[in-house]
Amino acid sequence: MFRKISFFALALAAFSASPALAGEPSVGETLINLAYSIDTFYFLMSGALVMWMAAGFAMLEAGLVRSKNTVEILTKNVALYSIACIMYMFIGYNIMYGDGANSFIPGLSFWLGTDNAVDAVLKSGGETYYSVMADFFFQVVFVATAMSIVSGAVAERMKLWSFLAFAVVLTGFIYPVEGYWKWGGGFLDTLGFSDFAGSGVVHLCGASAALAGVLLLGARKGKYVNGKVKAIPGSNLPLAALGTFILWLGWFGFNGGSELKISNIEEANAVSMIFVNTNMAAAGGLVAALLLSQLWFGKADLTMALNGALAGLVAITAEPLTPTPLVATLVGMAGGLLVVASIIFLDKIKIDDPVGAISVHGVVGIWGLIAVAFTNPEVSLGAQLTGIGVIFAWVFGTSLIAWSIIKAVMGIRVSEEEELKGVDIHECGLEAYPEFNGK
């Protein structure tokens, strides 16, 4: 087919095993070409799966809020993903992975550079083993994940544009800086803090920013009425279940891709182990949370089970490689129990988190990071606690400042009447289900 042929020139220039053609690369070079393409392809597929998690957060949150606030939460989710991509391309990626001034202060530059030159890759003998653009794609979906965590916690009462303003700050500055400290090779990495795929860098980060927002924002009207905690049931549980399945699937890319290489036997085995452990931890978390809610509340609360699965995923994210599948299941189960207790506790202290994001990603994220000290002999508890402290302090602090400024400038909470009527009509001019009688 013509379409194919039109690529031959290109194709052959770089790779040919047929002696019939001139200027062909050596076998060694060809091997590097193949390995490079395998690792890059694996990276792109992983990134696509993580991008899919954005849909998961959107569905989960849309299912757990009331119908009158559904359109607005969807708008926040699609918009924050887009903003994250733009800000991270504009400046975030360079802050996180550029040459920093020192191990605390990252460097500053703009836009993306060029990809690896073929010669450079060949010269490196395979040390440079995947595309820079593929790496950017994989990294950018991580920052979007961190920001997605925030939207759920502040749902049903925060102004749309104030939220998006914060998204600009978190994805362009707050996240990249702490990311630099760990994955960019900064001081957190030097002191041995271990966070394989981001229980801390991504999930605890998102939860800390969310907590700061919730504290400034206050609870939804009618959530805590003269000392009693009132239930505000989610409006569409199939969406919540769908969202959880999407996140579960996407997580294989999130953790599996974080191995960063698959093109040899050890790496292929490692990625496989990560897939298995990620899956087992989620399964363990779901079962544990479901059983606990049955025993505790007398009913099998689906929303708790879903949070349990996510808790298992967050818990294993800090170290999905070293544990055996059995241990991974237990780590997930602990996460599942913890998340239920945490959700109840946060309600007790009147921290209103409609979807349980702070519990799932924050509390369980911390658990996951601590667990590493037990599942990975090379990691010290001290280093883990330091990392947790640093990430929380940085993200919570800067977020508090950012939220406060936004609050002062444009306000962060909708008016009481708008909250009563639902933010959808007020912010977006639409209803999610205009034909059905909502309460």
Binding site: V229, A231, P233, W296, T303, M304, D347, G356
Partner: protein, 112 residues
């Protein structure tokens, strides 16, 4: 003429409809309502927080009939939807000054 309003349990609707048909009554208007009475709702737990499901789904059946049919209809409703269980429902009889069939403009008796 009278208007009968019966608040019944949703799953009894089909039976009632058939029973009324046999009485020769073919017109009625039905709407979904939530009921509250002796039959209290129950408390459920959502994410650890209690909430009362205190309004029970009921169906309201409105039937406009001629005076003379009133007792027959009320009896029929009772016998068909009565299960002896709390929450079976209520029947209200309201006076009506006039009825009109939109299509034909017929009034009162002819319009029913």
């Amino acid at each position: 003429m009278k208007k009968i309003e019966a608040i019944i349990k949703p799953f009894k609707l089909d039976e009632l409809k058939e029973a009324l048909n046999t009485l020769g009554i073919f017109g009625m208007t039905v709407s979904e309502v939530k009921g509250f009475g002796r039959q209290k709702g129950h408390t459920e737990v959502y994410r650890g927080a209690e909430y009362e499901v205190d309004f029970i789904p009921k169906v309201k059946v409105e039937i406009v009939i001629t005076e003379d049919m009133t007792d027959k209809v009320v009896e029929t409703i009772i016998t068909t939807v009565n299960s002896g269980k709390i929450g079976d429902g209520k029947i209200f009889v309201l006076p009506i000054d006039g009825v009109c069939r939109v299509r034909t403009g017929e009034r009162d008796k002819d319009a029913i």
